[in-house]
């Protein structure tokens, strides 16, 4: 295991300490088990937006606490759902009387715990609802879309939810906007190398020096095809074909594109992916109304990348472009 870390059992907590030391104006550690991260002061008069999930995906999840983004976030161990208590604490912090939306990746543990937390919150007379992000087209066919994992599409859904809340919308409206984003986002990844869970100490999966796996999940879940690494244009084409087959773009359709590095992929290579993706989406007739290239949803030292496409309507586009600011995102 080749990591710049101290004891594996302290990994998550020490990273959180580093984050708050670096960005005290943005993040504050809270909660009985110190696993709830939140903004320093709650913003009154708006719907709260929170999230939570396993660690090792920075900026996902907790990194997206910020203006026009999340108010608080529950932090689990590496690749493991937080328990429901920090989720409940996040809900309690974020609630300002207008209710709380939880943006949740489609993983069993995360879903179940957010369910429990929302139930518990109800006992405190807090209305908390959930929007599930399940954007990974590799994880299941369109007929089983609800079984898809949540991957980098989380970023778009969070951005939309945060902007809707910041705009003063009601919980119902915020949830509807976030749900619309979740319904209209699709992602697909490609992995070139494994990550290592600190407590496990060895790579999560093996992959040969000349292999890639299209559709692999951000924890190393099996993808749709493992094969020889090919030129980036061909890799991009295979990925984009899957995205467009799953939800085609009409001529003139406006889309947002996220080219996301999984953690160990040089930014140079992400620009090569964007270069091809732009050609392909535009050839398909789409207009890229918004795009980002960088590391937005990672798997520690996993090499690889993902492409996300969000099919926009006017409201989604407005919300996506609305002001937001955190150390990892700004518009």
């Amino acid at each position: 295991m080749k990591k710049l870390i101290n004891k594996p059992e302290n990994y998550v907590d020490e990273v959180l300490q580093g984050m708050t030391a670096a960005h005290p104006e943005t993040y504050k550690i809270d909660g009985a088990t110190r696993r709830m991260l939140r903004r320093p002061t709650a913003i009154a008069g708006k719907v709260g937006v929170i999230s939570g999930g396993g660690f090792g995906h920075l900026p996902v999840f907790a990194g997206y606490i910020g203006d026009g983004l999340l108010d608080a976030c529950a932090v689990g161990d590496v690749f493991a759902s937080p328990d429901m208590n920090p989720m409940l604490e996040a809900i309690q912090f974020a609630d300002q009387g207008k209710g709380v939306l939880c943006v949740v990746g489609n993983y069993g543990g995360d879903r179940m715990n957010f369910d429990m937390a929302c139930e518990m919150a109800e006992m405190d007379d807090i209305t908390a609802t959930k929007v599930i992000v399940s954007d990974d087209v590799a994880a299941a066919g369109p007929e089983e879309a609800e079984k898809r994992r949540g991957v980098a599409g989380f970023v778009f859904v969070t951005k939309i939810a945060g902007a809707a809340a910041a705009a003063g919308r009601s919980l119902e409206e915020v949830a509807a906007a976030a749900q619309s984003a979740a319904d209209n986002v699709r992602s697909i990844g490609v992995a070139l190398s494994s990550c290592t869970v600190p407590q496990a100490g060895k790579p999560t999966f093996d992959i040969a020096d000349d292999e890639m796996e299209i559709g692999m999940g951000i924890h190393g879940e099996p993808g749709v095809r493992r094969g020889r690494l090919r030129p980036v244009d061909e890799v991009a084409d295979e990925m984009i074909d899957m995205l467009l087959a799953d939800k085609p773009v009409k001529n003139g359709a406006r889309i947002a594109v996220l080219i996301n590095g999984l953690g160990a992929t040089p930014i140079e290579e992400l620009y090569l992916l964007f270069r091809r993706a732009k050609q392909r989406f535009e050839t398909a007739g789409a207009v890229i109304a918004f795009h980002r290239v960088g590391n937005f949803a990672t798997s520690m030292e996993m090499a690889g990348a993902s492409i996300s496409i969000l099919h926009l309507d006017d409201d989604l586009e407005t919300l996506l472009k609305a002001h937001a600011a955190c150390p990892f995102w700004r518009n």
Binding site: T33, S81, D83, G108, G109, R111, M112, D115
Partner: protein, 199 residues
């Protein structure tokens, strides 16, 4: 004879005294198909329960509810979440009762089972602890002696484990390795067996 807060306290004590070897066994079993944390979940969960067992309220429903709350600290794993869910549902079901007749034990168990199905989204037949729960509920209904109850539950559990051994896992982490899971016992099922054996 009936289930009371005192029974719950004794059960926690018994399980807690044997949880370390059970934890080791379950970690390695879970490690074969999953992430190897089932034992950690059990050990931490029963450590927490042991810490609150002397403060459990006399209302059996409220006692179950308190147990649920203390188990939520291990709800980061599926088993922990489902255990908390089950305890909470059983607690709601039994609320207001100081004792539950052994012959009525099927009622809160069924409530727990329903809640776990609703929360976890698994179906019967997916090779999870739900299949064991289902067999237990069927086996214990109308028995009003705790020893016979225990024997019947263990027998039902063992039968279910054997029945599912050669079927594939259809949910949770193990689903990814559905083929590999054929011929292997489901860790969650085995965990329930070991817990029952403690009683």
């Amino acid at each position: 004879m009936a289930l009371t807060t005192e029974t719950l306290k004794l059960a926690i004590e018994k399980i807690h005294s044997k949880i370390t070897p059970i934890g080791d066994e379950m970690n390695s079993l879970d490690g074969k198909l999953g992430d190897g944390d089932l034992g950690v979940t059990l050990v931490n969960g029963f450590n927490n329960l042991n810490g609150i067992k002397d403060d459990l309220p006399e209302d059996t429903g409220m006692a179950l509810f308190a147990m649920a709350k203390s188990v939520t600290a291990v709800s980061g794993s599926s088993f922990g979440t489902l255990l908390a869910t089950a305890l909470m549902a059983a607690g709601k079901n039994a609320k207001g009762q100081r004792a539950i007749a052994w012959s009525d034990i099927g009622t809160p168990l069924q409530a727990a089972q329903d809640a776990m199905i609703a929360r976890g989204g698994a179906n019967l037949g997916d090779k999870t602890m739900l299949d064991v729960m289902d067999a237990i509920i069927a086996a214990v209904t109308d028995i009003d002696d705790p020893d016979r109850l225990r024997t019947a539950a263990i027998k039902a559990t063992i039968q279910t484990v054997e029945e599912f051994r050669n079927k594939p896992n259809k949910i949770g982490r193990a689903r990814v390795y559905a083929d590999k899971s054929i011929g292997m016992d489901d860790p969650g099922m085995m965990a329930l067996l070991r817990l029952l054996e403690c009683l």
